[in-house]
């Protein structure tokens, strides 16, 4: 299972491709793609968003889904999805508390 991720052009925020072509700030809201074709379609949507100056650096990444919760497989992507482990007060982990 995969999700499509990128950074927002304007502020560099980490985002994932959600429903209806939206880019979401939480990986839990990311659309999950299964199978090569679906992933290719997701990447094509990403490329289009890149052309529209929405996001940069689009790529696919592995996730697992347990009880409907989407989690990154690789540590790198877990850190991207939460923030620096050395700075719990910054990044998405900080927003999660206030949200």
């Amino acid at each position: 299972m995969k999700v499509i991720t990128a950074n927002r052009l304007l502020n560099g925020d980490v985002v994932w491709l959600g429903d209806n072509g939206s880019w979401v700030e939480r990986i839990t809201l990311a659309r999950v793609f299964e199978g090569k074709e679906a992933v290719a379609e997701g990447l094509a949507e990403g490329a289009e968003a890149e052309r529209n100056q929405e996001v940069v650096s689009v790529y696919e990444m592995d996730v697992t889904v347990e009880d409907g919760i989407v989690s990154p497989v690789r540590l790198r992507e877990r850190i991207r999805a939460t923030g620096p482990t050395t700075h719990p007060q910054f990044g998405k982990q900080a927003q999660a508390v206030s949200a």
Partner: protein, 552 residues
Amino acid sequence: MYRYDEFDANFVSQRTEQFKDQVRRRLAGELSEDEFKPLRLMNGLYLQLHAYMLRVAIPYGTLNGRQMRKLAHIARTYDKGYGHFTTRQNIQFNWPKLEDTPKILEELADVEMHAIQTSGNCIRNVTADHFAGAAADEIADPRPYAEILRQWSSLHPEFSFLPRKFKIAITGAPNDRAAVQVHDIGLQLARNEAGEIGFVVFVGGGLGRTPMIGRKVRDFLPEEDLLAYSEAILRVYNRYGRRDNKYKARIKILVHETGLEELKADIEAEFERIRFGVLRLPDEEVRRIEAYFAPPPLEVGETVSGAVENRKETDAAFAQFIAHNLNPHRVPGYTSVTFSMKPIGGIPGDASDAQMDAIADLAEEFGHDEIRISHEQNVILPHVRLEDLPALFDRLVSAGIAEGNAGLITDIIACPGMDYCALATARSIPVAQRISERFGAPDRQADIGELKIKISGCINACGHHHVGHIGILGLEKKGEEFYQVTLGGSANENASIGEIVGRGFSSEQVVDAVEKLVDTYLGLRSGKEETFLEAYRRLGEAPFKEALYGAA
């Protein structure tokens, strides 16, 4: 300190204007990311894991209070209230927005700063000994030469698209504190028998995936030939350096593949063609630049301060600070003071906006408004009166940068690693923090003595692990962080590349492994004066290997 002339000011403001327009065009869709990326990199703007990252140049690690205060302002206004001093004597901001960067560059230009030559395949900004202009062992201040190289290399049309990046370091003292032998060009100031100033020249040093110690190509290069000879090296590199493979594109590979003698002959031939041309350094021009770096007026004082000695008697933390964080000054009564950006358990090289403001204040009050950043990620006031040390120390305690650990086991170099960096394969900072906590007790650190631990979160070696007495390289193995340990590296005048001691360690095991190495050293050293590195060089790897992995 060097002040911009009209040419410099125009050049920086033109570049800022240019970048402002490039960002506008990018946001308007007139430039694609592929077109924009090399342009933003030329202005120090990277895209990292969580956000953009802006790397600001601190040429030869020298700045003043006003500039430091501006960095604090940028951290507070455009970032999340902190910055990170790097092993290239630069500062990185971790969270700037693309739309804000033109404004940040404008603010930097106000204080004669910029992000030029901090990225891309150009001659990067030149690094130097952080005690330059102050150290007792110095032959001459290396910074005028660094500045001359800067003026020559900035926007050099011939060297804007080199096969790969190119780093030059220069030291003015026989004790190399600028790691010159692991740079593309390393320069060590020297005097010949006639008493004239010149340079020992090393070429082809570097770390990264293929670490190499630079090879000496000149025992003595006369001062007047500095630029012509540098240009000759760059020309040979630009012509013959590999462009087919990014990992084999640095000059160290060219030195290795061509052979030193042939390459030296190429450099000398090119040098002969141009040495009497426009690049020959006129004496009056060197002296003019030198005047910019003229030391502040320093009154000779007593070599021992009663105030310092008294305080040492009653204050262990102060005594520890005095024992480790001072470097002998060429003027009696003065010293160079290292502010440790390595608090126990803290993040190596990070400084908050409040700390940067405090450093600026202290530089103005106690340090003739001079500040240095070291490649070891610390901050230095080069010219401090011994008499002022007690008062300065109290202020450092308030600012949280008073740890007396310079050069000790907790004075760890660490790259940002996978907490920030898009290239990293493992985290560096948390490993540094855990080692720092493990060895943080003042007596224990002091007993261990000089021990340089350097940690990189990937093979690119920004954390200089190859030249750590103990080097730690973070890799990924089967989805887990995994740390390879090297021993016996050194970046000083007796430079060496560390050797891999054996199989690597998990994140949980790596701190214990370091402790075993340290305990082995303590058990086998000939005395307290034999450092870890000296003991390792005497004993070889066997006892250390056995401590880690048991008898073979």
